[in-house]
Amino acid sequence: MSPNEQPTSINPNANANALKIRLAYRFLHNLNNLNTKRSNLDNTRINRRSHRVKIAAYASMASVVGSRRAWSRSILWKIKKQGVLSRNKKRVDRVTSTLHRHHHVHLGSKRRSRNPKREYYVDPFGNSGQEVKLRKLVPGVEMMNACALLDETADYIKCLATQVEVMKTLVDLYSTI
């Protein structure tokens, strides 16, 4: 049930397929919830729907991995926060715009409150800012040392690439109507 614990050297393809299948199921499930929750969206709200599909993609990716990884925990936390905010406000239109603003502001302040006096981990690679850039791209790695960062990035890339494959397959399926 957890591909990370199995020896990947024996049969990496089987593990990759298992992950892909689990991602596909979860993503389809989330998409279905998406459709049944808010129906009757017209074309002017395509952006919002695309945003919701994107959220469903990241949510399904993170929930398949669960709380095993820092990046998945971070994504799930962020999405849960968004959900709480949207439930408290009644107007759907204002939610999305304020969500974006709150999301970024809240994340920024959260990061600052975590490291009030310390700087980020300094860079054992001696490269100009590559590690810092990587920390910005992968969620949940602000507090990690270089080793953990690389490990987390590898897992994140693997899951993200699989999620992209699942989505490509779905797009192909839907396009052949």
Partner: protein
């Protein structure tokens, strides 16, 4: 490497970093074909950043296309029933 901080955790060895960098290198589509460890850590990091960014952009693009396609699929089409059967199983 005097810039490393002492936080009480065991110091990161160079071997660990090298191993992780090579593991990361195997995942990157650009550098996988080289089949050597000659790619420097800086190159691997750079390619990783680029790859993650391109993956994010692909997710955006695909979710855009998916949302458009989903809106045009009505509930009675065969694809929708396939999807539904997949979900309910």
């Amino acid at each position: 490497m005097s810039s490393r901080r002492s936080t009480g955790t065991p110091r990161i060895t160079d071997e660990q970093i090298i191993e992780l960098v090579s593991k990361l290198q195997q995942l990157l589509p650009e550098l996988r074909n080289r089949r050597s460890n000659k790619a420097s850590a800086s190159k691997v990091l750079q390619e990783t950043c680029n790859y993650v960014r391109s993956l994010h952009k692909e997710v955006d693009d695909l979710s855009d296309r998916l949302s458009r396609l989903l809106s045009t699929v009505d509930d009675d089409s065969p694809q929708a029933s396939i999807i539904r059967s997949l979900i309910n199983n």
